[in-house]
Symmetry: C2
Subunit: 197 residues, 2 copies
């Protein structure tokens, strides 16, 4: 289909999440047809990101600075630490603008099935960070899955004895959610978390 360089580009694009072989082919064709607008800027953006973006040694966020913009922002509440699984979760919370504390990115969840143990995640760093001082509360903002909740319980256990509050996210009916589409687990959590109106 027109040269090994085209095939190679299609294959490199098809390895990205969300792009199958068909959409990778479409993207490759668009890139080759509009080189000044699409291809050249993408090469430059990739090269700049490869050269400048690093993992924050404090919290695990991705940024061009280390410590990252969140960790070095003096206006944020250093006493509030939000633990998330992934940088994508940190970005989601930042987009919402709802949280003004700091973060700690674990880099995944504990999973016996996938062989992910505590030493594979940034848990030791979290315990050290919390033990070092200023933290008042740790919010475990992990997925409401078996792995996420197992990880939350494990971390809560590791933080026992420190004079801090450890909290988890509230479970219940998502805003805009319709009851008849919810699973039993969510309904159960929503009933248990009922509150007076």
């Amino acid at each position: 289909m027109g040269g090994s360089d085209i095939e190679r580009l299609i294959q490199a694009l098809a390895r990205l999440p969300g792009l199958g072989p068909r959409s990778a082919r479409r993207a490759a064709l668009a890139l080759l047809k509009r080189r000044d607008v699409l291809l050249q800027p993408l090469i430059e953006a990739l090269a700049a990101a490869a050269a400048n973006v690093r993992s924050c040694s404090e919290c695990g966020n991705l940024d061009t600075a280390d410590p990252c913009a969140v960790c070095s922002d003096a206006k944020r509440d250093g006493g509030l630490l939000c633990v998330v699984e992934d940088v994508a979760d940190l970005w989601a919370l930042e987009r919402s603008g709802l949280f003004r504390g700091r973060y700690h990115v674990l880099g995944g969840t504990l999973s016996a099935l996938d062989g992910v143990g505590p030493e594979d995640l940034r848990i030791g760093g979290l315990v050290r960070r919390v033990g070092a001082g200023t933290t008042r509360e740790v919010i475990l903002a992990l997925s409401a899955t078996v792995e996420g909740q197992t990880t939350a319980h494990y971390i809560a256990d590791r933080l026992k004895g420190l004079a801090i509050i450890v909290s988890g996210l509230g479970h219940g009916v998502p805003v805009g959610g319709e009851l008849n589409y919810l699973d039993d687990g969510t309904l159960d959590a929503a009933l248990k978390a009922r509150r007076p109106l």
Copy 2:
């Protein structure tokens, strides 16, 4: 969201067809997390494609060689010329393996609305190519849209007087298609193209 270089990468990815802001963010994160497997190979593939892929001066196909692999393949029937709108159509036909002649890529369709006239497409080159000699039949494999059929009629007109056959693709029920999902135009075409069993 973590550095202007990350934002720039997300924006460059979001301009690709099939990737919105959300999937571009996901792709950027995957690229940054798996640099050796995803980011570096993509930079190299893009650079190689930018340097080596060109438009075939004969037919308009994209390839690392000019004339392209299809045009220089001596085993193909040089008397059969398939006219397509876009390189993507040529690739689709090549993947099917059904056609063993040569191609001519127009680069679009005539469109008064978008200001695309005959001089904006590779139509002059097609007329010269057919006039030069070996072509027996021109197959106008254009979309069954108003623009595609207008373009087909215009080209058929321009090729009048040359001792060749000009044909178009058959219209009718697509294989696997269900009657109650088809539009009236397709049903009409299918009825007119009915054949004895």
